[in-house]
């Protein structure tokens, strides 16, 4: 059986006066349905480029991407994208911003049904009483909530997140990670996120793809994160494997590990985890 998302030999090459500039090359990745994948790497290594190629917003130079058995060609509403800046249309209310996509995807539904879908997702992200507010009246974090609701409301095959919390303060970032992970668990949409926040990557993903430094960046290491879902941030942070995982990722980023390929697994000691699943009620919240 082939993977749900199959990225093979993907490359991004720009022509330049000094010959072709290779940004990303030999990028291979298979993602199972319902998996949450995070791509980390240094700024400018090309991780966003890979995500944008999956989104269809950046042209593929070499290789190919197959999603649910079909080769991708250009952008489409089957892939919900959450951009770094929420990119809401400032002249539309939060509801209308979500409806813009819903109307496009569910064009056979009645007006009331479409409105109900948009209202549902906005309520789930905690904006039930800000439906008619315009982006200018919302805080940065609330705007990104609208961005997340807009992506989920399309009921996409895949969710693509390009450093969605990069512009937020850390408290807001925690809140929104929780909103995102709750929604993702409920819908089990295959997700691919780009970030450079190691803790965010560990908290959210099933597997973390570490990219080597550019130019000519490729997949360096793929690290599995075996904490069971649903995850509790405090519980995970208390787990000994958390620090081993974190140290490993940071080490990778620090030594730049250029072109050091390999597939490593850091198990969260499955036997242990089965014995003592992280239980939010039993573990005292950190200070």
């Amino acid at each position: 059986m082939s993977a749900y998302l199959d990225i093979s030999q993907l490359a991004k090459i720009y022509p330049s006066p000094k010959g072709p500039a290779v940004i990303v090359q030999n990028f291979d990745l298979k993602v199972e349905q319902g998996e949450f994948i995070t791509v980390i790497g240094h700024s400018g290594c090309g991780k966003s480029t890979v995500l944008m190629m999956v989104a269809g917003l950046s042209e593929i130079s070499e290789g190919g991407i197959i999603l649910a058995g079909k080769e991708l060609d250009g952008p489409g509403p089957d892939r919900g994208v959450v951009f770094q800046s929420p990119s809401l249309l400032p002249w539309l209310s939060a509801l209308d911003n979500v409806l813009l996509g819903v109307n496009q995807v569910f064009n056979s539904a009645t007006k009331a049904e479409r409105r109900a879908i948009a209202e549902y997702y906005l309520t789930v992200v905690g904006l039930g009483d800000a439906l008619d507010k315009r982006p200018g009246e919302l805080s940065q974090g609330m705007r990104q909530r609208v961005g997340i609701a807009r992506a989920f409301a399309l009921k996409p095959k895949m969710l693509l997140l390009d450093e969605p919390f990069g512009m937020l303060d850390s408290l807001t970032r925690y809140e929104l990670q929780q909103v995102l992970v709750d929604l993702w668990r409920r819908n089990r949409i295959t997700a691919m996120m780009v970030t450079h926040d190691v803790d965010e990557a560990i908290f959210l993903s099933d597997r973390i793809v570490c990219m080597t430094d550019g130019p000519a960046a490729e997949v360096g290491e793929i690290v599995e994160v075996n904490f069971p879902h649903p995850r509790d941030r405090a519980a995970i942070m208390e787990h000994p494997d958390y620090y081993r995982l974190r140290a490993r990722l940071i080490e990778f980023l620090e030594i730049h590990a250029h072109r050091r390929s390999g597939h490593a697994v850091v198990p969260a000691a499955p036997a242990d985890a089965a014995d003592q699943p992280p239980q939010p009620e039993l573990i005292a919240p950190a200070a």
């Binding site: 929420p86 990119s87 809401l88 249309l89 002249w91 813009l100 009246e137 705007r143």
Partner: protein, 324 residues
């Protein structure tokens, strides 16, 4: 005593602030206008022209009153005429019921107020033509670099052309092409409106193109991800995003149009303010200068009002757009 001093002094401070604000925003302009009027009337009495002295402010105000009285008198004559006509028709039909009666239109001369209305109609028709041409053209320019490059030489060459150069061409073309048996509009009206359009479409064209070309790439990505149709992309993303700059252009266009209109009317003999100024100049009576000055203030005042209206519209479409 000293216990009430703080609130007392803050009340005094507030009062001072209000007085200062009123003085700056009402007092200073009023003072400036008063000084201007004083200087004007002082100078006016010393300048002699071929038909008497230069009119001062009071003479001009007086003339404005006269023009208004003329307007009222003309309206009175008009309603009298139609009243008499109705009576005569009743009498005629009473005498010979089978007879054929033909109503006549009142053929009085247009008053100053009529001329203002004509000017406003002309400028709006011209402005409408300009907007209908410039906005779609600007959108295409903003979307396509190739089209923009193609149209750029024409913009650069035609933009600085004076209305006085366009008018003869337009008048000749209108005479040649517009010859209906029952004309809905006069040729002079059409020529003036077209000249207004030709001169005023450039700011809208340029600003629309700029507005569309500088749309946030994120908005266009949203359109691409959602696979919006071409129509939806234009009407749901591109036009709303460019609206503030489109309105900046429209505001500039309307003020250019109003300025150009007076010259166009003078030459085309469209019965508006421009023709009024020209006719008064040709009259050369003792009231000529005062009447033309009334026209100057009218033109300035209407131009100012039009600009305020466009400014309010511009503010309304730009409102609440600080963030996305």
């Amino acid at each position: 005593m000293s216990t009430t001093a703080p609130s007392g002094s803050s009340r005094v401070e507030l009062f001072d602030a209000v007085v200062r604000y009123l003085f700056l925003n009402l007092g200073v302009p009023a003072l400036a206008v008063a000084l201007f009027l004083a200087a004007w009337s002082g100078v006016a009495s010393t300048v002699k022209v071929s038909f008497g002295a230069l009119p001062g402010p009071s003479a001009v105000a007086n003339e404005a009153g006269n023009l208004w009285q003329d307007h009222l008198a003309e309206r009175q004559r008009e309603s009298d005429f139609y009243k008499r006509q109705t009576e005569r028709r009743a009498a005629f039909l009473a005498k010979s019921p089978q007879g054929e009666w033909k109503d006549r239109r009142y053929a009085g001369r247009p008053t100053y107020i009529d001329q203002i209305v004509t000017s406003l109609k002309t400028v709006f028709v011209g402005f409408l033509i300009a907007s209908l041409v410039a906005v779609p053209l600007g959108v295409v320019c903003g979307l396509s670099r190739a089209f923009n490059t193609a149209i750029n030489p024409f913009v650069q060459i035609f933009k600085p052309v004076s209305p006085l150069a366009w008018l003869p061409i337009v008048m000749i073309l209108v005479s040649a092409l517009y010859n209906p048996t029952e004309p809905l509009f006069e040729k002079a009206f059409i020529s003036s409106a077209i000249v207004v359009a030709l001169c005023s479409l450039w700011p809208t064209l340029i600003n629309t193109a700029l507005g569309v070309a500088s749309i946030d790439q994120d908005f266009l990505n949203v359109a691409r991800v959602l696979r919006l149709s071409w129509f939806d992309k234009i009407f749901k993303i591109v036009l709303p995003a460019a609206l503030p700059l489109i309105f900046t252009g429209l505001r500039l266009s309307l003020s250019v149009g109003w300025m150009v209109l007076i010259a166009a009317e003078m030459l085309a003999q469209n019965p508006g303010l421009g023709k009024f100024v020209w006719d008064m100049f040709q009259n050369g009576s003792s009231q000529t200068l005062a009447q033309i000055m009334v026209a100057v203030f009218t033109i300035g005042g209407i131009g100012f009002l039009l600009d305020r209206i466009m400014f309010a519209l511009q503010r309304a479409v730009t409102f609440g757009r600080t963030a996305h």
